[in-house]
Symmetry: none
Subunit: 248 residues, 2 copies
Amino acid sequence: MLGLSNTVVILVEPSGPLNVGSVARLCENFGIKELRLVSPRCNPMDKDAQLLATKGEKFLREAKIFPTLLDALVDCRRVVATCGRVHHGTIPLYSPEVALPWLLKRSEDVLTALVFGREDRGLTNDELRLAQKVLTLKSSPSYPSLNLSHAVAVVLYELHRLTDQLNHSTKGNSSIETEPAYPLELEECMSDAQELLLEIGFLLDHSAHARMAKVRALLNRAVIRSEEISLIRGMIRQIRWAIFSRAS
Amino acid sequence: MLGLSNTVVILVEPSGPLNVGSVARLCENFGIKELRLVSPRCNPMDKDAQLLATKGEKFLREAKIFPTLLDALVDCRRVVATCGRVHHGTIPLYSPEVALPWLLKRSEDVLTALVFGREDRGLTNDELRLAQKVLTLKSSPSYPSLNLSHAVAVVLYELHRLTDQLNHSTKGNSSIETEPAYPLELEECMSDAQELLLEIGFLLDHSAHARMAKVRALLNRAVIRSEEISLIRGMIRQIRWAIFSRAS
């Protein structure tokens, strides 16, 4: 079963404790194996970092510190680095949809790494070249760089989404679908409604069919269910009682 | 050309200025039209918010403040709300891949909204029911809730990714869809219906809210349109006349 539990998140020279704390929280959110910091420019146990880490506080406490990115990658076989640019002169950039599935093709016990750069300068070309693949989140040059923790959030979410897709490989939405009502149930309900609406003069003989067709279209679009039809028929019954049984 | 420029981001009762500031930055990152705040529990011009907003500072300055979510949705025809749960008892939850393309099917000048809830409590059921579709980022119950700004980052990124996909794809795009009714139109219709159904005894005070919630769920699933609401209100009017004006 694939998962993010064999993936480490590496931040190179992060300078903001709020960012580092937020990333620790994301590691907890997504079941990451470990947070690694290369020459951090702030203290991971800073109170601001701890504040933002919330339940991810252990990732801060247990974060491994390394002097260089090469050191931090010592035991990682598949490495994807991130880049804030749309195009790079010499290094090919891939979208997450291409780079991340490659990360997931790993064998059972292989460690993989996601590498993120400095808030202001990203990763150097030499650092980018330590990764087998570099991904970019930008698909158009029009918006300025994402905040570091937002970039991490998006990449981890995409990795999770693609993992889920691979694990379940059934497209479609996540809600459990209730079966629709039988056509006959809706038909009988529409008959009942039409009768009432004709009696009270909302429908006129010549336009009844067209107007009921609109109601039918609405209910079909909703893919109406049996219990909803029961609800509507209950309303029709009570309305009929109110009109024809009440004392004036 | 589709884009996020007709989409507003709405935060309901946000309490953290760091979160509000981060979200303002994301609005700048993704070319969002406007940031709206419903009864914010912090000051959007707080220095912490401004610090995190960086280039998105204008979204803070120009953020519109509303007392309720219904007010904030006054001019939005397509609304997607977010929910932190995997399953919801009564409201269908969709993955972003299903809910967001629906948002993108909008006509040219239609405003759409993405709604996010309180940091600790999310959105209430009544608030979720103001949206035609509710999305969940969770596909497995195993990880705890994302931080508010991370959830916004992921949703905006997904919307952007799907927009890009639609803009560049060579497949035929969806046929022109009729726009849904405004949330306020449906609200007024439901109010009207509830009043009538209470008067005739179909609804009882203690169960009225739950039963009307079922009706609302049906009509949201249908993504009901203005002319259909008019039809229903016409029925209500005629039914009322039949009950209260007829000679016995």
